[in-house]
């Protein structure tokens, strides 16, 4: 059953066919036929000798051989039985030796189309197969037996090179581990074979003749000059491409329901309601294909009907004011009705039912036509718009035959992407790998919110075509670059040596701009390192921290420093002052859609998912607001007011609070270690009703910031002078303070209750004012170093 016979008829024919595969040999044979016919004609009609028959006989024999070679030997079909000899693909048959070994299979697999497909898209390269073969017994029978099993599992017609390659891999005792290192599973390879078979089938189908009604199809139907001007004939633009796209189970069912609706009596309309990206247009195109195919069994009243999409923009642009449009639309629809073969498609139908920029409400014109139900119409719109329209105009909603479209599953989305890959590869001259498709699904699900699957995955897959790596390959890295460029998500951190170095020295870098609070700095640094190394929980934010402590001790500064050092810069930090969210109704502002409030939390994170999110003075927010934030802290998800999931899984969430500041000070004064009293402090806050336990428990870590001491303030003075020097760098002026001046600043700027906050003011009023005066009085200029002593500070303070 699983024996290969080198001398079987198919094997022999395949090997002979391989010799004649070259068009050169076949052309030579054809020329010989022509020469023999011509020579025979000469002998017969000029030389009058019967030898002409011999030449003609030879020509006929050669013709017969040529036909046999072309239609049988070069492409021998699969045999009638279920034996291995009958099921091995032609490519494999021509390459196999009399006594094949697993090593030989490993070598020939990539010489076949399906084996090459796996090599290019799944990295099942000849070298990888060589390593695999070293770990399996040198016996071909189990390889063929396994291959037959895989062939049946994948629904393949033949045992191809790709199927044999997977058989070799599956026979390796550690194949699962080997595949895991390549981020693959056996199932992925099976899917690879199914994908290859699908593409192969598409090529075969493209060669088959298509019957679409012929020259007489449209003779009985009317002229549609207006419709041609303001609409687009979808059926005509499909042309010979009918039925060339993947049919998802859901789409096939919807097309069947559309056919049923239009075949029966009743209102001849269908409203396809589904979110953008769910495939509304694809369904209409599939429906157009179905009507255009002479071979489908549908009612004759539907056969060869053509779908015209009415272009709202063009109509509104040409129609101008409402009155003119209200006259134009009935003319166009009347023309469509009189033509007798038109189905009108109103894409984004809401544009015809609401008054806004780019849309005009002509429901008074359309409603009677839809209600009468004689003109066939398809309306497509998203759910939200449909709900809005049905609230405004229930009569219209009742007149429509609704069909809801759901977004596709992961499996279906992968199918759609696999279907579109050849088209994208042709357009962009690239090759997509399996990982690119997987990554496009994963990342689009997480970061693209304006449309649903499969549209969102397709959008990202297409964007990634602009970022090929290793020649013209589109890999998961390409998709990550695409999402980084388009959505500002940082995906490649650990692959960049600078970033790695930055992460390893994060504490030092943060301490370049903030003093002390070592525990909190370490906590956030550790969280970022875990995230970059991929060891964190992917279904939560990178880190969630509650910074507690008195004012002016560096809570906000740490968030800013983190944003500056590792994220997109201090200015790009997403900061919400929670004292602006003190009412329960403020929840709607927190999760508002970007079009309503660009500064809402969800809108900002949607735009920049890889950010530091700072919720300042969290204790002042209304409990309802805190409850809303629970899911964000726990699962890294917050739903906006349009019910879209916004991911916080690439954000670091920092909430700050001054609650318990007195208690902290008390602990410090009592000489207690803050780390030891953290639990006591949080318990106290819960008892005092400042926070609910379920809220505090959602944070990865509660960091207590200790009040600053005089030594800390001295270091802060240094940092502030550094910052002033940085500002003056353009003018090449430097400021230097002697120790006495610094001591004086610390003495005047120290306030145990306000931390470092007064220091900023003091430095501004003394040092910065002094420098400003000197520059304006031409006492300091480019390249100068200004020395400031305690006297100068004192003189400023006395003013």
């Amino acid at each position: 059953m699983h024996q290969f016979h080198y001398d079987s008829l198919r094997a022999k024919e395949s090997r002979i066919g391989k010799v004649f595969e070259s068009w050169f040999i076949r052309t030579l044979m054809l020329l010989a036929v022509i020469a023999l016919v011509a020579a025979g004609a000469y002998l017969m009609f000029v030389a009058h000798t019967s030898l002409a028959w011999l030449l003609w006989g030879l020509a006929i024999a050669l013709c017969v051989v040529l036909i046999f070679i072309k239609y049988e030997l070069i492409k021998p079909p699969l045999g009638p039985t279920d034996s291995l000899d009958d099921k091995l693909s032609r490519n494999v048959l021509t390459l196999l030796s009399r006594n094949p070994t697993p090593a030989e299979i490993a070598e020939i697999a990539h010489k076949t189309n399906s084996g090459n497909f796996l090599a290019v898209r799944y990295a099942i390269t000849p070298n990888f197969l060589k390593i695999v073969v070293e770990g399996i017994p040198n016996d071909i029978t189990p390889v063929f037996a396994k291959a037959r099993e895989i062939q049946k599992k994948t629904g393949s017609e033949s045992v191809s090179g790709g199927v044999l390659a997977i058989a070799l891999i599956e026979l390796h005792p550690n194949h699962e581990q080997m595949l895991r290192t390549m981020k693959l599973e056996v199932e992925d390879l099976y899917n690879g074979i199914v994908w290859y078979n699908y593409l192969h089938g598409l090529v075969k189908n493209a060669r088959k003749p298509k019957h679409t009604g012929g020259i007489a199809r449209d003779l009985a139907f009317g002229y549609t000059p207006y419709l041609r001007r303001f609409g687009r004939n979808i059926s005509e633009s499909r042309g010979a491409a009918i039925k060339d796209q993947v049919q998802l189970a859901q789409h096939t069912q919807i097309v069947a329901r559309m056919i049923e609706t239009f075949s029966k009596g009743g209102r001849q309309n269908v409203a396809l309601i589904g979110p953008s990206g769910s495939g509304r247009s694809t369904i209409v195109t599939a429906f157009a294909d179905e009507l255009l195919d002479a071979d489908t069994k549908i009612s004759s009243s539907l056969k060869f009907r053509q779908i015209f999409m009415l272009d709202a923009a063009s109509l509104i642009g040409n129609g101008g004011e409402r009155g003119k449009l209200e006259r134009l639309v009935p003319t166009i629809l009347g023309e469509a009705f009189a033509a007798k073969n038109i189905i009108i498609w109103l894409d984004n139908a809401h544009l015809f039912f609401e008054d806004a920029v780019g849309s005009v409400d002509i429901s008074n014109v359309l409603l009677p036509i839809i209600e009468a139900g004689r003109l066939r119409m398809i309306l497509t719109m998203d759910q939200q718009r449909y709900l809005e329209i049905s609230t405004r105009n229930p009569q219209l909603a009742n007149a429509l035959n609704k069909i809801m479209i759901e977004q596709s599953s992961e499996e279906e989305t992968m199918q759609v992407m696999e279907d579109h890959v050849p088209q994208l590869e042709y357009q962009y001259n690239v090759i997509y790998t399996h990982w690119a498709l997987k990554e496009a699904y994963r990342l689009s699900e997480r970061y693209i919110h304006d449309i649903v699957m499969p549209g969102r995955a397709m959008k990202l897959l297409e964007s990634s075509a602009n970022y090929p790596v290793q020649g013209n390959f589109i890999t998961d890295a390409s998709v990550q670059i695409a999402i980084e460029k388009v959505y500002g998500v940082k995906m490649q951190a650990t692959q960049d040596e600078d970033d790695k170095l930055k992460l390893l020295n994060l504490e030092e870098l943060i301490h370049e701009r903030m003093i002390d609070q070592v525990g909190a700095v370490k906590a956030v640094s550790d969280a970022l390192r875990r995230s970059a190394a991929g060891v964190r929980n992917q279904n939560r934010p990178i880190g969630t921290f509650l910074f507690m402590g008195p004012t002016g001790v560096g809570k906000t500064e740490l968030a800013k420093a983190l944003s500056e050092v590792y994220f997109r810069g201090e200015g790009e930090m997403i900061r919400l002052d929670m004292n602006e969210f003190v009412e329960a109704s403020d929840v709607s502002r927190l999760i508002a859609d970007g079009s309503e409030d660009a500064l809402s939390l969800t809108a900002q994170v949607m735009k920049h998912p890889f950010s530091v999110v700072l919720l300042d003075e969290i204790e002042k927010a209304h409990p309802q607001v805190l409850t809303t934030l629970l899911q964000m802290l726990d699962e890294g998800i917050l739903r906006d007011n349009k019910n879209r999931e916004v991911s916080f899984r690439d954000a670091i969430v920092i909430a700050t609070s001054n609650a318990g500041a007195q208690k902290i000070r008390h602990f410090i004064d009592s000489g207690m270690d803050l780390n030891e009293v953290k639990d006591e402090l949080t318990d106290q806050l819960i008892r005092d009703g400042e926070f609910k336990p379920e809220f505090l428990n959602r944070f990865d870590e509660v960091c207590i910031f200790k009040p600053l001491e005089k030594e800390d303030l001295r270091k802060i003075v240094d940092l502030m002078i550094q910052s002033t020097n940085k500002t003056l760098e353009v003018q090449k002026i430097r400021v230097r303070l002697d120790d006495a001046a610094k001591d004086l600043l610390v003495e005047k700027g120290y306030d145990p209750k306000l931390g470092a906050r007064p220091m900023r003011r003091i430095v501004q009023n003394t040092v910065e004012n002094l420098v400003a005066k000197m520059v304006l009085a031409n006492l300091a200029g480019n390249g100068d170093e200004i020395e400031i002593d305690a006297e100068m500070i004192k003189s400023q303070l006395d003013k």
């Binding site: 024919e13 046999f68 199809r217 009317g222």
Partner: protein, 125 residues
């Protein structure tokens, strides 16, 4: 063995493939001329000209509409009849040619032997 394979293919699969190809060509031709569709719509107004009617209710207007439509139907019928005629000729020609090819197919491998015999016999024109 290869000869057996050749004969099996030529007289079974090859011949059937040829018949299928000819049938497919015939179907494509029939689809292109869509004769059954032309017959079904033989009396329909050509391109629905005047099918919409003027909408007026006066007797004179209705008579005018009727004659407009009648003229449109006659033009449509003439055009369709011409296409039906051309279509039938093309299809009949295709059927004749295809039948000849299908009938000649089994004879083709024998013809070289016939030619050898004709050479030996010495037949000339």
């Amino acid at each position: 063995m290869l000869i057996v394979g050749f004969l099996q293919w030529w007289y079974v699969r090859g011949w059937l493939n040829l018949i299928n190809k000819m049938m497919s060509m015939l179907r494509s031709l029939a689809d292109s001329f869509s004769i059954s569709l032309l017959i079904k719509t033989l009396f329909s107004p050509y391109k629905q000209i005047s099918a919409y009617g003027s909408g007026e209710i006066s007797f004179q207007a209705q008579i005018s509409d009727f004659f407009d439509k009648l003229l449109s139907r006659v033009i449509g019928m003439i055009l369709r009849l011409i296409i039906i005629f051309i279509g039938i000729i093309v299809i009949v020609l295709d059927v004749v040619m295809s039948s000849l090819v299908i009938l000649l197919w089994p004879l083709l491998p024998i013809l070289p032997i016939v030619c050898v015999i004709l050479t030996i016999v010495g037949v000339t024109f």
